[in-house]
Amino acid sequence: MTATIGYSSVLVALLLALWGIIAPIIGSRTGRERFFASTRAAILGQFLLVTLASSSLIYALVTTDFSIKYVAFNTTRATPIYYRVTGLWGALEGSLLLWEWILIIFSGLVAWIYKDRHRELMPWVLMILSTVSAFFLAVIAFASNPFESVFPVPLDGRGLNPLLEDANMITHPPLLYAGFVGLTVPYAFAMAALIIGKLDEAWIVTTRRWTLTAWFFLTMGNLVGAWWSYHVLGWGGYWAWDPVENAAFMPWLPATAFLHSVQVQERRRMLKVWNLSLIIIAFSLTIFGTFLTRSGILSSIHAFSSGPVGTVFLAFLSFVLLGSFGLLAYRADHLKGQPELDSMVSRESAFLLNNVVLVSALFTIFLGTIFPLISEAVVGVQVSVGAPYFNSVTVPLFLLLVFLMGVGPMIAWRMASWDNLKRNFLWPAVASLLCALVLFVWKIRDFLPLLGFTLLAFVVFSILFDTALAVRARHRLAGEGIFSALATLARRNQRRYGGLIVHLGIVLIVLGIAGSMGYSVEREATLQLGEALTVGRYHVQFEGLRGSQQPTHYRVEAAFRVFNQGHELGVLSPALKFFPNQQSPVGRAVFRSTLAEDIYLILSGFSELQQNRATLKVLLRPLLAWLWFGGLVIVFGTIVAIWPFRQKGRGWRMEDGG
């Protein structure tokens, strides 16, 4: 019954989506407004139906209705209720439904918020959203149906992959999907502008908050994924440049580039074609990402169930790429007549350089990801591209980006005068060079880390210095104290100060990455009972093995007492978990985190329980905690940037002027 309700909702929603594609075309041919209005109704109808379908699947999961194959494969009677709900995105079929659900929620919001605005643009925006929705609904209905039944009905289900039974898996996939899906909105506006040939800045101004929201979700999705990898997977790392990770990261790069370059278009009406291309690329990469993870064409450490959807996604990807770039090429004449750059030393050129760097990073990561395919197709040689390639190529690019992060927000538009440069950058530059000197004298002698830390200091100093000047000005002007001056500044210029806070968050993330990449220490040893291993300031003493039968698995724990320079940190017990239906054990690492460094313990092997011998791997990862802290700062910065503060007499500001 539940399955019938769910599946028929999907089918009817698909019909509505198809109508949403056709109606604007008929409407524009016949000039009848009714057809445009029906497009909006079609979107809202899809919203209700897909919500119903998703609710049915959640209901089936919660009530363990094992007559549905998806439920039988992704829950058991023993699964706690919250993991039953998250079973919705535990496998391919359900996550596609979740994707469609988020998409249609966003589309519904767009249809509702812009009900009386953008009369020309909206039918086409809704048509593009309906097209994407129709694709996903068709995939759900015909290629990977989550409501497929199973007969005979099993007594108990198979359950989630044990690695996914973790709190971070509750948030990571929905965040990432929200980021992916969020990019559909600016894409739809861009395409609508291209279709009607009205290529002013309206679509950019309208979608600014959407883009920023999508960017925020993408950032968080990637960070939570990294945190999960560090926290659960038990290998001590958080990023492996695996194709699947790259697929989630790649849309972030053009999205970030887009956030910056649209400001140039708003201010100077430049880069029109470029911005359109960026949003097309960003959107295509979200489809490409799903294609990559679900088609199984590249080998990945992430085991995803891959169904027949790979081909369908490839077909849709080619449709999107050919359609969008074809339209862009067709309309390119309307996009001419842009003013030239006035000076190489200006904010425009800093943003432009930022874009070039981000796109180069995207290109190198993309190339590295699909290189195994190219190599085999062209020369027939199998290769794999690993972290060394990605690190050596992207690290210089990201360092340049950090430098630009210090320069871009402070430098003047059009043409920076010598005076402007001196006023904004002299003191930050001096301070960061002093910082470099201190670090050098202290102990950091390698070139890249030293350069990295200096640049980070430069960004921080330039932001602090600029803000301090502004606060001082307000103090003199309005007699405000420091904090109220800061609050006024942030409220008056949300975008700028929100952006600067996000930059500080990025600085912390880079700090965490630089510290943990450049200065981590690894030791591995086999210890007898009572023996100890000394790593850096830490002393790790082995206190015995213990085996226990858990509800779902057998667990072997090893207890280690950890001392930091004689000061006891307590007992850490990394474990290996043996699940009955898995060949190799699942590790459970444990770590202690401080602002200075993390100590991370992995049990990599053990003897017979009686012999009490364990092989232990100890990792020290300096500064890593700052990476996660940076994520929190980005949350705060994004809120500052997009929070719709109530302005007197203006109501909610959904579209701010700039």
Partner: protein, 210 residues
């Protein structure tokens, strides 16, 4: 006079339009030239298995091993010097292995009086299931279980069934991933006997190992 000017102006408009037209086409062609190969490349991805790794072993000495057979006897690869060896990795849970089992026995019946040796290595399996498999398909050539999985690792087995042909000097002459027919077994064993190396590996239906 006027007329001529008008004509020049008109023709230049036409020229201008046609140059815009070609601009148009040029842009479309450039767009296609970038996107189509990319899509082609991704589509090509479907034709291959990313876990499929060409073996570097063909033409090299076969990694030595000692296998305990199901009847308790031990057999070591070194003992088989001077004979052409057909080595077959399998498991009872693997459908393509079941599909080829009868064919292999047929080939063995034809060749068992020659100098050729057949050896089956069971991996990732329980002894009980493996013995049931042997009984079901009436397999009479020697078989043993690689309980620790060490032989499979040495031979880089990643999908089964996988078959190796070894010449009398102990060199691997051919490798076949997936189900193999009795004709290929006979032909390749004959080639192995003469020391003929086939660098390109064969491919049939296979199942990735767990």
């Amino acid at each position: 006079m006027e007329d001529r000017r008008l004509r020049i102006a008109r023709s230049s408009i036409v020229n201008f339009q046609s140059s815009r037209e070609t601009m148009h086409w040029r842009r479309v062609i450039i767009t296609l030239a970038i996107i189509l190969p990319l899509i082609g490349l991704l589509a090509y991805g479907f034709s291959r298995d990313p876990r499929y790794i060409n073996t570097p072993l063909i033409g090299r000495q076969a990694p030595p091993f000692t296998l305990t057979l199901f009847d308790g006897k031990k057999i070591s690869l070194d003992d088989l010097r001077g004979k052409a060896v057909f080595l077959n990795f399998w498991a009872s849970w693997c459908p393509p292995c079941r599909a080829e089992a009868r064919d292999l026995e047929v080939a063995w019946q034809q060749l068992k009086d020659t100098d050729a040796v057949f050896l089956g290595i069971d991996i990732q399996d329980t002894e009980k299931d493996a013995l049931a498999f042997i009984r079901e398909f009436n397999v009479t050539y020697p078989n043993g279980r690689d309980a620790a999985g060490k032989i499979a690792v040495d031979y880089g087995v990643w999908g089964i069934p996988e078959s190796f042909f070894i010449d009398p000097q102990g060199r691997i002459t051919y490798k076949h991933v997936g189900g193999i027919g009795s004709q290929i077994v006979t032909a390749k064993l004959e080639e192995a006997g003469r020391g003929v190396v086939t660098a390109k590996e064969g491919k049939g239906t296979y199942q990735s190992i767990r």
